[in-house]
């Protein structure tokens, strides 16, 4: 139905990709760029993305957290185009880490940020905006004068550091899906440079009495007989919604080359042989359906037995490009920061 002439590229498709489609009428002035002309002769089927040599893939961009040991454990920080999951128990500091990344995202690229504000989707009640403001001021205070002038040259000041897009009250699975769609649209429009979700587990976890105990008690049937049937359907529905959300997040991350951070809760592990758990017997929530969704999975753990109640450990469970590693850090005014040497291990 489209008249031949200069067809517009479909939405969400970058112009360079569109040029590579064979058979597209090139009625624009000057024709296709010279460098791309030899490609038009090859008969790649329509609709297939172009094959790029591995040596020609561009370098990766990272969103740094400001704490060198966390960045090293994560392989450089939050990698653009990947979905990083950070799971931790209550009070471990996941929201603090989310806020820290949002603040860093607004910084210019030379300082490890992405140069544009981030979008935060909050599913757990009210978001502590005041704490975020305090953290932004603390981060600003910790910058050197040269870094501050660099920020100001890019239009980022003390008050704009904590100014990010915030989507709140995504308390149920449906509203989470809508919130994620809104954030994805914001990302596609180019207005935000990172997506942070705190937390994915909020709308999906219902305290189910036979979820944990039934497994350990009886090996014969899944859960108790009564809760088994309903539980199965509930799990299936939950898996579907979860995977829908994860699919949207990953597609946006891939298309727009954004770093995406998803915070998850942690549950106690009943069997010591769980492959996805840290050795401190907590495992990320939401099961196997969600486990495939993230490229990188990290756990934020409290350090039991440490003198400092603010001591934390970040442990990377799996990562496509780095071995599992761990690091220690301290939760402070400016978010998670370096642990001072000489701390109790």
């Amino acid at each position: 139905q489209r008249s031949s002439g200069s067809p517009a590229p479909p939405p969400g498709c970058c112009a360079a990709h569109w040029w590579r489609q064979p058979g597209v009428a090139h009625a624009r002035a000057g024709g296709p760029p010279r460098a791309l002309r030899p490609e038009m002769q090859c008969d790649r089927p329509r609709g297939v993305p172009p094959a790029v040599r591995a040596s020609a893939l561009g370098p990766a961009r990272f969103l740094a957290s400001g704490c060198a040991s966390i960045d090293k454990a994560l392989g450089g920080g939050l990698r653009a185009g990947w979905l990083t999951e950070i799971a931790g128990e209550a009070g471990a500091g996941k929201t603090q880490l989310v806020m820290q990344f949002a603040i860093r995202c607004a910084m210019p690229v030379s300082l490890g940020g992405m140069g544009a504000p981030a979008a935060i989707i909050c599913t757990e009640g009210s978001f502590p905006v005041r704490r975020m403001r305090t953290m932004a001021f603390a981060v600003w205070a910790a910058l050197s004068a040269a870094q501050r002038s660099e920020c100001e040259a890019c239009g980022v000041g003390r008050d704009t550091l904590w100014d990010c897009h915030l989507v709140r009250n995504a308390d149920s699975p449906e509203s989470l899906v809508a919130a994620v769609a809104a954030a994805a649209a914001c990302a596609r429009a180019g207005r935000c440079a990172a997506l942070l979700l705190d937390s994915i587990a909020g709308p999906f976890r219902v305290p189910d009495p036979d979820e944990g105990s039934g497994g350990a008690a009886s090996k014969a049937a899944p859960g108790s007989a009564g809760g088994g049937g309903g539980g199965r359907r509930w799990f299936a529905g939950r898996a579907k919604a979860l995977l829908g959300v994860s699919s949207v997040l990953r597609c946006v991350a891939l298309e727009r080359r954004l770093p995406v951070l998803v915070a998850n809760q942690a549950t106690a592990v009943l069997r010591p042989d769980d492959s996805t758990a840290a050795p401190d017997d907590v495992a990320p929530a939401l099961g196997m359906a969600w486990a495939h969704a993230a490229h990188v999975r990290a756990m934020l753990l409290r350090r039991r037995g440490s003198a400092n109640p603010q001591a934390r450990a970040v442990r990377v469970v799996f990562h496509p490009a780095a071995a599992s590693s761990a690091c220690v850090c301290v939760l402070g005014e400016a978010g998670l920061g370096e642990a001072v040497l000489g701390e109790a291990p």
Binding site: C42, P45, P49, A54, S55, L254, M288, A289
Partner: protein, 451 residues
């Protein structure tokens, strides 16, 4: 306009509607079927089908001549008449197939356990499925294979290019470069031991740039792109083999400064050197990702049909071009029921048959203590996820997909050790092997078992 097109033939309206609705496009399609088959397709009785056949024959006499009257059943049964209509290329004896298959090369994985399990490496001409929990090393194994496919023949490789269809975005160029560096060093060591001129020359040409230039990555960000790529994979492979341009024509175009131009020239030289080889490996990582999240394709029947079409495309690619196809799949939890119904054999749940597995895995880990392996076996029998002891882990995409691949390799954790288990193979005995993922890539685990 095709000759004999139904839409244009002078037949009556109801007949035309009936034929077009049933999917017949040309008169050839109509004549190719006997009246009973036509009756079944059109859902009419045989007499009506014979009338329709006669009507179309009267309208398209030329096409009717090309399809003579249906032979009597006796003649159709005659083997020689049937044989004379067969394509002679399809008539091969098993002996000739055996000789051909002996010469089929394998793509080594550089992990001795997995190579022994697979009979020398990943077999070409077959579709292998790799299934595992997240983080166990599926993408690592695929990246290792992608790098190994470019190994020269002098060192036991297949000297080919790789097409990496990446649907998850987890292909990491820096990790690939790391593995390529390790492989180059290994090859240089092998060449030094062989001490022949050709080997030394091949080793010198086998740089990281060379290996990376031989891996072509196609990023599919949606189900539509994945379907288009896989169903049209023959065309994609031809395009990859044909043009040295590929995708890096645009990348090298905006080279500005002298240093960048020098690097681009080196890359172009490496690309040109790498371009002459055929594609020997196609990796789909992973086929399950877009199906698990895409709520719109909720129709299970449609999904099975799409998967069957993709499997068919991959099989024909492997068979006609002698390409090794590796497909990565996810796992899902099977809620409810014990694992016994699924069996411990082909394609069953990962936790099933734990007792026999524990015995064989204890052999894998060397002299692990009996207590440790028994405890681990008990834990494995309970499955390795948090949904309770009754659940099992099973490959995603359902049972119809389970038949689609020729070989099936399960990757899982056994305690702290990664294990690969061959769960389905028509030609190799089933078994398991331990492996490790190091900074150099996928290798066999260190000799002193750290179980």
């Amino acid at each position: 306009m095709a000759d004999g097109a139904i839409a244009l033939a002078p037949i009556s309206g109801p007949t035309r509607t009936l034929l077009v609705a049933a999917g017949f496009r040309t008169a050839h399609d109509v004549f190719a079927m006997p009246p009973s088959g036509l009756a079944k397709e059109l859902r009419v009785d045989v007499a009506r089908a014979a009338d329709i056949l006669a009507e179309v024959a009267s309208c398209c006499p030329r096409e009717r001549e090309q399809h003579p009257d249906e032979r009597p059943k006796r003649a159709r049964m005659a083997g020689d008449q049937a044989a004379s209509r067969l394509d002679p290329r399809l008539q091969v004896s098993a002996l000739s197939l055996l000789e051909v298959s002996k010469k089929q090369p394998c793509i080594v994985t550089f992990c001795r356990g997995i190579d022994t399990l697979l009979g020398g490496g990943m077999p070409t001409g077959e579709v292998t499925e790799v299934v595992g929990v997240p983080g166990v090393g599926k993408t690592q194994l695929c990246t290792q294979l992608a790098v190994d496919a470019s190994l020269p023949k002098a060192f036991g490789g297949v000297d080919g290019q790789t097409l990496y269809i990446d649907t998850e975005g987890s292909f990491t160029p820096d990790r690939c470069a790391q593995m390529a560096d390790a492989l180059s060093a290994h090859v240089r060591g092998m060449a030094a031991r062989q001490s022949s001129a050709t080997a030394a020359a091949a080793a010198a040409a086998f740089t990281t740039e060379f290996q990376m230039a031989r891996i072509h990555v196609v990023r599919c960000t949606s189900l539509a792109e994945q379907m288009a790529t896989i169903l049209g994979v023959q065309g994609v492979v031809k395009a990859v083999e044909a043009g040295p341009g590929g995708g890096d024509a645009a990348a090298s175009a905006p080279a500005g400064s002298g240093a960048a131009a020098g690097a681009a020239a080196a890359a172009a030289a490496a690309a040109a050197a790498a371009a002459a080889a055929p594609v020997r490996l196609v990796i789909v990582d992973s086929i399950a990702f877009h199906y698990r999240g895409d709520a719109s394709s909720a129709d299970a029947g449609q999904r099975s049909r799409q998967l069957a079409a993709q499997a068919q495309a991959l099989h024909s690619l492997a068979a006609t071009r002698g390409i090794a196809v590796v497909v990565v799949n996810h796992v899902t939890t099977k809620l409810g029921g014990r694992g016994d119904a699924w069996g411990s054999g082909n394609g069953g749940g990962i936790g099933a048959g734990a007792a026999s597995e524990a015995a064989e895995a204890a052999g894998l880990l060397g002299d692990g203590s009996a207590a440790a392996s028994a405890a681990a076996a008990a834990a494995m029998a309970g499955s390795c996820d948090s949904l309770g002891a009754g659940s099992q882990l099973a490959p995603a995409l359902g049972d119809s997909w389970a038949h689609a691949c020729t070989n099936r390799l399960f990757l899982y954790w056994f305690g702290k050790v990664r294990v690969a288990r061959l769960a389905k193979s028509p030609s190799r005995p089933l078994g398991a092997a331990a492996f490790a993922v190091t900074s150099e890539g996928v290798r066999r685990p260190p000799a002193e078992g750290s179980a």
